[in-house]
Symmetry: C2
Subunit: 131 residues, 2 copies
């Protein structure tokens, strides 16, 4: 496998990570996601890691970078399906994500992204009114 597929769901992109990401695969994913956010005008990215038993500090850092890249392109990232053991490992490894939020499943993740977009459009209207 040379790349992880990215699926489009309306304004959001969905990535289901099922394999251990080696260096090149992680970089390709980051590239592909950035390209798709720009080309499709995506506002949100959902990353499902329910298939991962283990997340090491390399994958932790890659996921953080993906979220940071998305943020620069004005898209929000939500990670879903994290197993309890993975959450504990991430805390133990000291991995912190500035631009990533977490939701239990895809549906809750999409709700989170929708709420974000509504907040953003309200803020835009308020700015418009104030001006």
């Amino acid at each position: 496998m040379d790349r992880i597929p990215i699926l489009q769901l309306g304004e959001n992109l969905l990535v289901s990570i099922q394999v251990d990401m080696h260096d090149q695969l992680a970089l390709t994913l980051q590239d592909d996601l950035a390209t798709m956010i720009v080309n499709k005008g995506a506002r949100g990215v959902l990353i499902d890691i329910s298939a991962l038993d283990l997340v090491d500090s390399f994958i932790g850092r890659v996921l953080g970078n993906i979220a940071a890249t998305a943020r620069v392109l004005d898209a929000r990232t939500v990670i879903v399906g994290m197993r309890p053991a993975v959450a504990i490992t991430l805390v133990e490894l000291g991995v912190t994500w500035q631009h990533m939020r977490s939701a239990l499943n895809i549906e809750l993740g999409m709700a989170l992204l929708r709420a974000d977009m509504e907040d953003a459009s309200t803020a835009l209207t308020d700015t418009h009114r104030a001006g």
Copy 2:
């Protein structure tokens, strides 16, 4: 990897196949999908194969079996993201799917499943009226 994750999107289930399915993985997927259709009351199954360069007759048969199992449980199956070369190979292999339809991408696949459900509910109303 011991199983392919199944994601829930409203009334539908989404499976993104990214690895070559050996025997056990295929059987586990068929089992897991049947269980999830029953437990979650899913009406549709979307199978994304955009990551597959190659579909051999074994995978072709497995996908057909998955769709047939779903059909017995009153769920429809749509395959999405098939590459042109895969389509040609399937025809050359003589693989035919009785219970599977195809759509170019997830969004069109979901529209197909939605249309099915509307047809089904109309048919139900008509039967009710006739009775």
